[in-house]
């Protein structure tokens, strides 16, 4: 047993079909002339001329990733691979390395020798930002990935990611971090512990 569907009431002119076609074409034609000859500034046009013209994104828009810097410009990233573990699109490639002899961070930190994000494969879910224990990766740039003709242009490496600024222009993170070797570091290290 089917459910009875009420048929729409149609006037005679609607049932005649041709007047309705003319009505529709008149609307189409009017939009054509409006879009072609009217000025965009007046707000008559619903679309924008992307990419020359862009809409304002909401504050929490997830843009292109950036890697935050420390005070000395080195990446905050310690190459723990939590972001690439969390990434559902598997678009983050990291090769860790170790700070060498004589570096105050030796033993406390490793760093990404290679850090590449494939922005084409990325689905901009923000899981990498959630997973990061060091506030090293952020998506607060507000930048929509610009178009390019080569796929390689979408592979952003560590040098590019470190230079991309946040929407407010900062390349650091708002969360302070004090590490062994920094003059702000509160702890006692072996040299100051007296043994």
């Amino acid at each position: 047993m089917g459910k009875p569907v009420k048929r729409p009431e149609q006037s005679r002119s609607e049932q005649a079909f041709l007047p309705e076609i003319a009505k529709g074409l008149r609307l189409t034609a009017s939009r054509f002339f409006k879009n072609t000859f009217s000025a965009a500034e007046k707000g008559d046009i619903a679309t924008v001329r992307y990419p020359e013209e862009q809409r304002e994104y909401p504050e929490r828009f997830r843009g292109v990733h950036r890697l935050t810097q420390r005070e000395d410009g080195s990446p905050r990233c310690v190459a723990c691979l939590c972001c690439s573990t969390a990434c559902p699109a598997q678009c983050i490639h990291i090769e860790p390395a170790e700070y060498g002899d004589g570096d105050p961070r030796k033993g406390y930190e490793k760093f990404p020798k290679v850090f590449v994000i494939d922005e084409l494969r990325c689905i901009f879910c923000g899981m990498c930002v959630e997973a990061c224990p060091c506030d090293a990766i952020r998506m607060d740039t507000g930048i929509h990935m610009p178009p390019a003709l080569e796929r390689d242009a979408f592979l952003l490496d560590k040098e590019v990611l470190l230079r991309v600024p946040a929407a407010d222009g900062s390349v650091k993170s708002a969360n302070p971090r004090h590490e062994p070797g920094d003059h702000t570091y509160p702890g006692i290290d072996r040299d100051r512990s007296g043994h």
Binding site: A79, T85, E109, R190
Partner: protein
């Protein structure tokens, strides 16, 4: 574990959290539970080492026998008053002997409370640098934190800092901040490796593991110290920062390093098809819990210096094989070359390899037998230094297996050195594997042609007229028979790096050689029949194959 018990005396048992646990003579509570696959939380106890009982993580409540109780004040939540109470004195399960009929609780509130407290104490000065720690993901501190503490840290002051990234030797890096002083590494070096190079100094939160003065950690079992370390204090320089353990999958395998045939777990990244490390797999009959450094690092040869495609000799005057033929039908080129030597009535030599599996070698023996040979040479890696712990002086994993396969096919194995030493000049030598212990220049003097079915680049493959890539132990299944005569099978771990299974190449060769000899399909044994013969290992196949060999001669 499966010892026969006399029927008159049933095996004694005790109860652990209501479960009956059988007792072997001399068992502690922890060990008896471990045999049953029940884990009482522990750090310092290891089934292969002596009992130290210093981590206090395995405290359990024993409610039978003479129960010891301590008077305590306990807060009454209803009234807010402290009232007198008693709490049971807990016993370390690793050191307390399991007594028949004992009533033990590891999950009682008292025991769980002790686990919580010990866990909190061990983490007091822990740096919690899990993001940069290689142990993260397989760390007992993490596991037991989730099991027993799962609570925020209450200590707000800066943790005590101790040396980090101290290089103990070529293989091991030590981080004193992560160390919980369980002394497993120290006991391993002293008791198993018989080289007491590690010890500890200071006490309390200044405790750290140190090397003996003037020494580095350089014995042959250094990577085992990392393996026994329950936390991230000791890390392997080979594996350090290469991969996170949660990306790796594990497959059981057998070490190909020497005739001991240690059982291994091969950890590989399935996304890359790459091996990252070998770990010992417990087998009381073979390697107990241990492996040597060379064995653990032998995974590297699967990815290093591999023969990636058919190659031909670049020597002056060597006949060039056209690239078209070399890359599309190298096996036919090889078959024709072998047939050519047979037609010229020159002598032909087949070389089996003790470093390869029984299956690969059986295929070579069958090829030799089909061509009418009953004498096959046996090559292998040169001997290395053995010891009394695990390392066998024979560097080859499968000498016994090849010998067994040869005697089953009624063939004679001769050492490959005879190829060079004998006065015979050979028309051609077919060498299985790239492992060898002969002087390659002298070998080239002794033979007009040299063909290699091998895994690795190197002197032998470079000197060969034709070298075809085949699969290594990690990419195909096989069997090694160790020096004790135990046959141990392993299966493929990673997808092929390069080449084909050598058994498949060799069995195809049988048909192709016979076809090249007389061009008739009538005498060509089908590959399927031959594989069947190989799989069943029946002798019925052999006479007919040998007969064909005789006929073409």
């Amino acid at each position: 574990m499966e010892q026969e018990q006399p029927e008159a005396a049933p095996q004694p048992v005790f109860t652990l959290d209501g479960r009956q646990i059988p007792i072997e003579p001399g068992d502690s509570i922890l060990k008896a539970a471990w045999r049953q696959g029940i884990e009482i939380p522990h750090y310092c106890w290891h089934p292969g080492l002596s009992v130290a009982a210093n981590c206090r993580m395995c405290l359990v409540e024993v409610r039978s026998g003479r129960v010891m109780a301590l008077p305590v004040l306990r807060k009454d939540e209803a009234t807010g008053e402290f009232v007198s109470a008693t709490k049971p004195k807990l016993a370390p399960a690793c050191q307390t002997p399991a007594t028949p009929g004992a009533e033990v609780y590891a999950l009682s509130p008292e025991a769980k409370g002790a686990h919580h407290a010990v866990q909190e104490m061990l983490l007091l000065n822990h740096p919690v640098d899990c993001p940069i720690c290689d142990q993260a993901g397989e760390c007992k501190l993490q596991d037991y934190w989730y099991d027993n503490q799962a609570d925020l840290k209450r200590k707000l002051t800066e943790p005590v800092h101790k040396p980090k990234a101290v290089r103990f030797g070529e293989t091991i890096v030590y981080d004193a901040e992560r160390c919980i002083m369980c002394t497993r590494c120290i006991r391993f070096c002293t008791e198993v490796a018989k080289d007491p190079v590690l010890d500890m100094r200071e006490r309390g939160n200044r405790n750290e593991v140190v090397l003996a003065p003037g020494r580095t950690l350089d014995h042959r079992y250094t990577l085992m110290t990392e393996h026994v370390c329950p936390v991230g204090a000791l890390t392997s320089r080979d594996f350090r920062f290469k991969a996170r353990v949660w990306f790796l999958k594990t497959a059981p395998s057998v070490c190909s390093g020497c005739a001991t045939g240690c059982n291994t777990f091969a950890d590989f990244d399935p996304r890359k098809g790459q091996l990252f490390r070998l770990r010992p797999r417990d087998n009381p009959e073979v390697n107990t819990f241990w492996m040597c450094d060379d064995g653990m690092l032998s995974y590297r040869e699967v990815h290093e210096q591999r023969l990636l495609g058919p190659t031909q000799s670049k020597r002056d005057g060597a006949a060039r094989i056209p690239d078209q033929r070399l890359y599309t039908e190298p096996d036919v080129v090889l078959a024709e070359a072998i047939a050519d030597v047979i037609k010229r009535d020159a002598s032909l030599a087949f070389v089996a390899n003790a470093a390869l599996s029984t299956e690969d070698n059986t295929a070579l023996l069958r090829l030799a037998k089909a061509l009418g040979h009953s004498r096959v040479y046996l090559a292998g890696r040169p001997a290395w230094e053995g010891d009394d712990i695990l390392r066998n002086p024979d560097h080859n994993p499968n000498r016994a297996g090849v010998q067994a396969a040869a005697s089953e096919l009624e063939m004679v194995l001769v050492d490959a050195a005879e190829l060079v030493n004998s006065a015979t000049h050979f028309g051609g030598v077919l060498w299985l594997g790239t492992e060898h212990a002969v002087d390659v220049a002298e070998l080239r003097q002794a033979t007009s042609a040299l063909w290699v079915l091998g895994t690795h680049q190197g002197e032998l493959a470079a000197a060969a007229d034709l070298a075809l890539p085949v699969l290594s132990w990690a990419e195909q299944s096989g069997t090694y028979t160790n020096a004790k005569g135990t046959a141990q099978s392993f299966s493929a771990v990673i997808p092929p790096v390069a080449g084909q299974p050598s058994a498949a190449v060799l069995l195809t060769l049988v048909g192709e050689v016979l076809q090249s000899l007389d061009g008739s399909n009538a005498t060509r044994p089908s590959g399927a029949t031959f594989s069947g013969g190989l799989a069943s290992g029946t002798a019925s196949e052999a006479p007919s194959a040998a007969g064909q060999g005789e006929m073409v001669r």
